[in-house]
């Protein structure tokens, strides 16, 4: 089973290295790691996907919490969460093949974002299943290159993973996500 963790970390030099070093040192197997800015200056957000068949998600969460630069970490797997992944796929396509690819893209609500004489770039957003579905259909046409962002996640409604207090400042109120028995002060 896949577990998705969302971590808020200080946007400082070396922080990504600390996280990566932790995963390596503890032999945590990470499927994907997506990092980007948040709406708050100096805070980055990481979405981490773990295959919990070989890596204990609770231990990943607990170890991340021990890194001084981590502001919050939460396992959102069992929450009502939107998952997204974005892929750019460069597919072999001469003028004659373009129309068919455009049609496929349309069905998946993907976009053609670049057209060259013998290839096109398709941009697709969605959950992993949708992206894999489109990729499988494009594969016979000849995929020249592909890049994916890895999963990003956001909890719906007010179960926010970005736990802020009233003045929009981070407060990280120690959410209970596992059966280790925790309550915050």
């Amino acid at each position: 089973m896949k577990h998705t963790l969302v971590a808020l970390v200080q946007d400082k030099p070396g922080v990504l290295n600390r996280v990566a070093s932790l995963f390596r040192r503890r032999a945590f197997n990470i499927e994907s790691l997506a990092v980007g800015h948040t709406d708050q200056a100096h805070i980055s957000r990481m979405t981490i996907v773990i295959d919990s068949d070989n890596t204990n998600a609770h231990l990943v969460e607990a170890n991340l919490a021990k890194l001084v630069n981590v502001l919050d970490v939460q396992d959102v797997t069992n929450m009502d969460t939107i998952f997204r992944d974005l892929a750019l796929v460069k597919v072999r396509a001469d003028a004659a093949a373009r129309a068919e690819i455009a049609q496929l893209a349309d069905i998946f609500r993907a976009k053609i974002v670049d057209v060259a004489s013998d290839s096109v770039i398709v941009e697709v957003t969605g959950d992993e299943d949708k992206i894999e579905g489109l990729v499988e259909l494009l594969r016979p046409k000849g995929i020249l290159e592909m890049v994916r962002t890895g999963r990003i996640a956001m909890v719906r409604g007010n179960q926010s993973a970005d736990r802020k207090n009233g003045n929009g400042k981070y407060n990280g109120n120690g959410h209970v996500t596992h059966d280790v028995g925790v309550s915050s002060v």
């Binding site: 040192r25 609770h58 170890n63 001084v68 990280g172 028995g181 925790v182």
Partner: protein, 567 residues
């Protein structure tokens, strides 16, 4: 506001953290700080190798409970300290390491004596810093001490480039409350229902057992544990680092558990119906085979570090939080109880399988290490701080020296670092100048850091050194004897004449080869005012019993008689 250089700010901040002594070695990149040091009331202990500095800071912290501080230059100075930091991390010891670094302008250019110290120390520290602006220095030092001693303690490294040591700022000591970015994540405590569950399990248990670990002393919960055990008549077994957290001579104490623990203690674990694990982390050296570990017990885990919960052993009730606070919460929920049958059974087991089983042996083939440790215990009335190295002698110390008080056994448990004893003892002696300090080391490990004898002499420290010289890397030889058909690959080890070596350093040396001479030499050494070294030429092929082979079931111990037969 005074304008101070980074180098001065460093010492200003250390003084405010209560630091009185630091262990270090100078060099180019830390020179500005050494120059500034002369203006401050801090005693600097010049070591002979930076590994010694980090072990001394560690030994200082273990003996006193205060943060130990070590200092080195960049590059080789800093890398030499890594073994000591790794040792401290594994055993949760509060240490702050200060390292000089090349100037910020040349970082990354392979400048002279440049090493990526924050990079190489990352996995062996609790946290580390590279200071790039002098204005950050006061805050970072304060934060580093806080991190080192709070929660589950550990070593923190601060790498300070030379230009930051020279840069000046208007210095004002920060007084605002300290908040770590992750502090809310660490302030998690077991909810009250968990304490109620735990209380229920304790009330139902017929065969409860306390597993006493290092966390008891780190939490300062010795009294609470003692009261709890006595009130509920629960027997106690200790991890190696738990030794001293519960009195060894208490009627409820079963002694050490694990690989070289007692038969009674290990069998108690395997037969218990409730384990109360207090500040211990189910290390592989104490559990043996996890699949067969304590099969009949419910488990309550008192633990401050959430990442230790369900890491090795799945527990029924995790009680996350500081042990002392948890016991104070739990105590009123549980009514006193007797476990007469269980205690009578264990008492009988202990009598049948005494931990100190060779005490009355007349050893025909030479002096026995066990007897030497026993005699040191007798001579010191069990009151000394004993600092051990790693190997057979370490296990014999744990078995034959009964520690009734915390912080009196100082030993590298998690990392098992040979060469630890001598420098750690120097740290311990500086932390507790009025205490009698003994080093018990093997002939192998002593040779790893023996040059710190010069530090003992330069610092005029009264430290007594006992070397148990068996002519072997004994513990490894024992594994070869048991598991590799006695093929002694690279374990016979030659030593210098330790007594002459000691004398060359200015330390009187004694050689003891017979039991009859042990006590008189111990007394002579104890009554002298300076340091002394005693080489005990002990039986060469003695083995530590009982032994649970690595990964074996905890109840499947190799006992002394059995091992005499071919394996």
């Amino acid at each position: 506001m005074p304008k101070l250089a980074g180098a001065q700010i460093l010492w200003e901040c250390l003084v405010r953290e209560g630091v009185e002594v630091v262990f270090g070695y100078p060099g180019g990149a830390i020179l500005p700080s050494y120059d500034a040091m002369l203006q401050y009331p801090i005693h600097h202990v010049l070591v002979r190798h930076e590994q010694g500095a980090s072990h001394m800071a560690d030994g200082y912290a273990r003996a006193s409970g205060r943060v130990g501080v070590c200092v080195s230059t960049s590059g080789p100075g800093a890398t030499n300290m890594l073994t000591g930091l790794a040792t401290a991390l594994m055993d949760s010891i509060p240490v702050v390491a200060i390292t000089g670094q090349v100037g910020t302008k040349v970082i990354g250019s392979d400048a002279f004596q440049e090493t990526d110290v924050t990079g190489v120390s990352l996995p062996v520290t609790k946290h580390n810093y590279l200071v790039t602006d002098v204005h950050e220095l006061p805050h970072i030092i304060r934060e580093a001490f806080h991190i080192a001693r709070s929660g589950r303690p550990g070593p923190v490294l601060i790498d300070i480039p030379k230009d930051v040591q020279l840069a000046t700022m208007e210095f004002e000591y920060p007084t605002a409350p300290l908040h770590l970015p992750n502090e809310r994540l660490l302030q998690r405590y077991a909810p009250m229902e968990y304490f109620e569950r735990a209380a229920q399990l304790i009330a139902q248990a017929e065969r409860p057992l306390i597993l006493a670990g290092h966390g008891i002393t780190l939490s300062g919960a010795e009294q609470e544990v003692l009261e709890f055990a006595e009130k509920h008549n629960i027997p106690v077994t200790l991890t190696l680092l738990g030794i001293g957290s519960f009195p060894a001579e208490h009627p409820l104490c079963l002694g050490m558990m694990g690989m070289h623990g007692g038969v009674c203690a290990n069998e108690a674990i395997q037969n218990a119906d409730l384990l109360l694990a207090m500040g211990m982390r189910f290390d592989d050296r104490v559990t043996g085979n996890l699949k067969t570990y304590s099969p009949y017990s419910k488990k309550i885990h008192f633990e401050i570090d959430p990442s230790e919960i369900n890491k090795n052993v799945k527990v029924d009730v995790p009680l996350l939080g500081d042990l002392k606070a948890s016991l104070q919460k739990l105590a009123p929920l549980v009514a006193p109880k007797r476990h007469d049958a269980w205690l009578a059974h264990l008492k009988n087991e202990l009598e049948q399988n005494p931990m100190r089983d060779v005490l009355d042996w007349e050893s025909a083939d030479g002096l026995m290490s066990e007897h030497v440790v026993h005699d040191i215990w007798t001579a010191t009335q069990g009151e000394a701080i004993v600092v051990t190295d790693v190997g057979q002698h370490q296990m014999w110390e744990a078995q034959y020296y009964l520690h009734n008080k915390p912080r009196t056994l100082i030993t590298s448990g998690g990392l098992g670092t040979m060469g630890f004893a001598l420098p750690a003892a120097i740290g311990a002696k500086l932390a507790c100048p009025d205490k009698e300090v003994w080093v018990i080391a093997g002939d192998g490990g002593f040779q790893m850091t023996l040059y710190e004898m010069a530090t003992i002499v330069q610092e005029k420290l009264k430290i007594n050194i006992a070397i148990l010289n068996n002519g072997y890397l004994g513990m490894v030889r024992q594994w070869q004897e048991f598991f590799y058909d006695a093929r002694y690959a690279a374990t016979p080890i030659l030593s210098p004449e330790f007594t002459k070596l000691a004398e060359a350093y200015g330390i009187p040396g004694y050689l003891v080869e017979q039991r009859a001479d042990v006590m008189s030499v111990l007394e002579e050494v104890r009554s002298s005012s300076g340091p002394a070294l005693i080489e005990f030429r002990v039986k060469m092929e003695d083995a530590v019993y009982p032994m649970v082979p690595a990964g074996a079931n905890l109840q499947d111990m190799i006992k002394r008689e059995k091992a005499a037969q071919p394996l």
